[in-house]
Amino acid sequence: MAFLQAVLDGLMIGGVYAVISIGLTLVFGVMGIINFAQAEFLMLGMFIAYFAWQFLGLDPLIGSVLSFAIIFGVGVLVQMTLIQRVLHAPPVAQIFVTVGLLIVIENLALIAFGSDFRSVSTPYQTSALRLGPLFLSVPYLAAFLMSLLSGCALWLFTNKTWYGRAMRATAQDPMAAHLMGIDADRMRQIAFGLGVGLTAFGGAVILPYFTVQPTVGQQFVVLMFTAVVLGGLGSVAGAVVGGLAVGVIQSVSTLFFPIQLQNLILFIVFITVLALRPTGLLGAAR
């Protein structure tokens, strides 16, 4: 019984991990770089939703849309000014541009917001629904549903709109896309913007049960990367599977192992997948 509860909780939270991870995998899929600063955009998304709650009285679930929109714009700017320049540079340059970005964003936040922990309070924060013998925490469920919604929106975008398909084309074969008249640079900007925007969105929807401060991103780093690697870097479906898997693994392992081993397990999963099947369970070869 406790097992089922853990699985349920894990799936709920895994849904959010999925959204957060989709952002990361999208960036890799289209540009071939791992954005080490990804978790910082999550933090920014959380802060935007927090301030929207504090000053506009918006529930974070609605504020999340605002987070998405703003960070999308920021992402496009970042891509244009920084990422674009190192697309053809050696990996060391690509790695440290995003690492530098990590430092810049985290410290900008520290300077602007200070290091205090902040949290929101929503009317449903402590409510839970009953599902037979199991409990479904309402904030978890709300976050999960929002994630589902955004996942569907993303699917619609990438499959049903011209921009989405153009983006996938650019990811698969930049030269061919270019020859078809697709502005690859624009597509990459959109992809990066979407990528960080989605992660920011994910951060916002978990605000009801999380506290935010400028270094909160660090907690999600290994998680996010494990989910993405598990599902396959570059595969959106993989990020979903990976996110859910990480959520469940994390949740279930609390039943059997002390908390310190939980992360070790995650790491073992991570390193095993990287070593044996770097393309992940669902990933496209790259």
Partner: protein, 322 residues
């Protein structure tokens, strides 16, 4: 690497602190700078020579700090011995980590190293019974003792850190000028070509990795003994240690022996200055500046400040000849 200027520099560095107040702030800053220069140099062995971009050196640093301190606290073992134990543990960790990461390149490798250090950090934070948890560990206080590597004055620490820097730089040069160094260069440029002409690329990468890890752990012990107190975030942290080690080397010039020294003596004094004279909020300013500097260096002159200095000097010499 010219011996005379290097010798003069070391001599100057050895004499300098005699003019400073041994309990004062400036010598403390210099000592920290020496430590981080040494850390950057250790990273340089894998990042600069072998082009294995590690974002997880904090793993070895923290292993060194925790091993020696726990041995001291629980068994009264001298940190000099604890240092060796820490280095051995880190070497084993590096060796074990090599196997799954051997075929990983670039981004993937960096990611794996980052994840490893993060996991150790989380374990250290949660395994309170052993590691003291998020509160951290304090080195038990004792009066001045060489055996216990504890001094009230900063001066002995300064010389120890200087010694560490000279030692690690020496190892760096030794490797670079040896057969191993040539092979690492080959691996850095083209792994397949290197293999085909007889370079055991796996073995070569592992050796560099293990040496770097052991040296990094030693620095972790020295750090613990110098600061008397540390917590998981300070010694296993991505930003304070892993990124710092890489940044110091890259800013100064990865792959060169003076690079990490330049990088550290640029970053640490500025940062310490900011920490002490600015409020904690605006202290983030110095970090921000470093982040921006890192990005700027990558975009403008990825080979580091050393190249800018050399070019500037060359232009100066040309100008004075005109």
């Amino acid at each position: 690497m010219r011996l005379l200027p290097a010798g003069i520099a070391v001599l100057a560095a050895a004499v300098l602190p005699l003019f400073l107040d041994p309990l004062g702030y400036p010598i403390r800053v210099l000592t920290l700078a020496l430590l981080f220069a040494a850390l950057g140099q250790a990273w340089n062995i894998v990042g600069g020579l072998a082009n294995q971009i590690s974002l997880g050196h904090a793993a070895f640093f923290g292993l060194g700090a925790y091993t020696s301190t726990l041995l001291l606290i629980n068994f009264g073992i001298s940190p000099w011995i604890g240092m060796i134990a820490g280095a051995a543990l880190a070497a084993v960790a590096a060796l074990l980590l090599s196997f799954p990461t051997m075929r990983l390149r670039g981004h993937y490798f960096a990611l794996a190293t980052l994840a490893f250090a993060e996991v150790l950090r989380v374990i250290a934070t949660s395994w309170s019974e052993v590691t003291g948890g998020p509160v951290g560990l304090s080195v038990p206080f004792s009066p001045d003792s060489f055996l216990l590597l504890q001094f009230r004055s900063t001066l002995p620490y300064y010389y120890i850190m200087l010694g560490a820097l000279v030692l690690i730089s020496g190892v760096f040069l030794l490797i670079r000028e040896s057969a191993l160094g040539y092979r690492l260069r080959a691996v850095k440029e083209n792994v397949d070509a290197a293999e085909v002409i007889g370079v055991d690329t796996t073995r070569v990468k592992i050796i560099a990795s293990v040496v770097s890890a052991a040296l990094t752990a030693i620095l972790g012990t020295l750090y613990a003994q110098f600061t008397y107190f540390f917590d998981p975030d300070a010694v296993f942290g991505i930003v304070p240690i892993s990124i710092r080690a890489a940044m110091v080397a890259i800013l100064g010039g990865a792959g060169t022996v003076v690079g990490p020294i330049i990088g550290a003596f640029f970053i640490i004094p500025v940062e310490e200055f900011a920490n002490s004279y600015l409020s904690s909020r605006t202290a983030g300013l110095s970090q921000l500046a470093f982040g921006l500097a890192l990005i700027a260096v990558i975009l403008i002159q990825p080979r580091g400040i050393i190249v800018l200095i050399k070019e500037g000097a060359a232009r100066f010499r040309k100008g004075s000849e005109a």
